[in-house]
Symmetry: C2
Subunit: 214 residues, 2 copies
């Protein structure tokens, strides 16, 4: 059972990332970038709700806040899940393969672990795409004094999405279950479609320049 | 004196980001995303150096590693510096302005704090642009089994650069010292030119698909 990484001090998490050890790695870093983005979206919302000045968007911003906090929790869990998924794959690799039965059991365990390792970044991609939409809403509706935080949230969500997408595609290259591959690709395409390439990020940046207090 | 944030557990850092408190905010999150990217580049290098198989790139990868570790340290410091810079600005805002002298002193202190708040993301932009180049080198030269980590490093560096750029531009809008504004814009343009829009990130992704072990 690998050590949990989100209780580590930020400084030590960074040391662990840079070290010659497999986890935490790119999957966890991508999920953490998404969680950072969600944190920023939530902060923007919290500086907006409950104020007369923003009463007309109160309900919408409350909804964005509730959802961004859920996504932040799920993305933080994904930081750990990526570590666990790697552990499962390493365990399968360590299985004996002296007899044919052993080889077959090991191959099956590897395939199971590879599918599990694919599901984690797939969820990160889906959550990051949704977060990107929320970041744009926060930029459009939120307290203009924090608008740059909403745009940074959008940048981090987009980076998390692109990173998770890369990891999904690489893992799928080794998965033999054609139905799993097809289903995963469909979910990935849906997540990509929500983000519309760089369109949502660019929109967040444009809104900043329109709405930022001078 | 605000509490230092990088000794906080990752979980608490995220809570602080999401909370209705000004720091840590988008500037620290951007710097941290850059530091995460640097950590990944270093990991790729550490799984590459000292191996016969990669002897022909040993020297180049050692150089990338040494520099990415320096950048990781500097970006981690910037996470704290952004918190400190905000504190300086808040202190200036809290200065009395009942007399003309007081108003003038406060205005000068605000301008000094605003320049200090601009220098932090400017450094983050410069370091992230350099990191982006290192991430592409790590993807080109590094151990192909970790190539996706190099590409995630590139995505995070690009997000850190774009986020820092946004914060520099917004802060510069309030700076009165024309020479400081011009010098800062020049440094920002240089950093942007190094990243060449999305070109370096896209190159890292392409390399992944070329070099990833099947």
């Amino acid at each position: 059972m690998p050590e949990r990484v989100t209780p580590l001090p930020v400084h030590e998490f960074l040391e662990g990332l840079a070290a010659k050890q497999p986890t935490p790695g790119g999957g966890s870093a991508a999920a953490l970038a998404g969680a950072l983005g969600a944190g920023l979206v939530s902060m923007v919302c919290r500086y907006t709700v409950g104020r007369k000045r923003f009463a007309d968007v109160e309900e919408a911003v409350q909804r964005v806040l509730a959802r961004s906090e859920e996504l932040r929790g799920e993305l933080e869990v994904a930081v750990e899940d990526d570590v666990l998924a790697y552990g499962g794959y390493a365990d399968a690799q360590a299985m004996p393969r002296e007899t044919e039965d052993e080889s077959r059991a090991r191959e099956e365990a590897l395939q199971t672990a590879l599918r599990a390792s694919t599901v984690v970044p797939l969820r990160v991609a889906e959550r990051s795409a949704e977060l990107l939409e929320l970041a744009v809403e926060a930029a459009e509706l939120g307290n203009p004094y924090l608008i740059s935080d909403a745009a940074v949230g959008a940048e981090l969500a987009a980076a998390a999405l692109a990173s998770a997408e890369l990891n999904v595609r690489l893992n799928l290259g080794g998965v033999e279950d054609a139905e799993f591959v097809r289903g995963s690709r469909e979910r990935l395409e849906e997540a990509r479609a929500r983000a519309a390439g760089r369109e949502l990020v660019d929109r967040a940046t444009r809104i900043v320049h329109e709405r930022a207090p001078s």
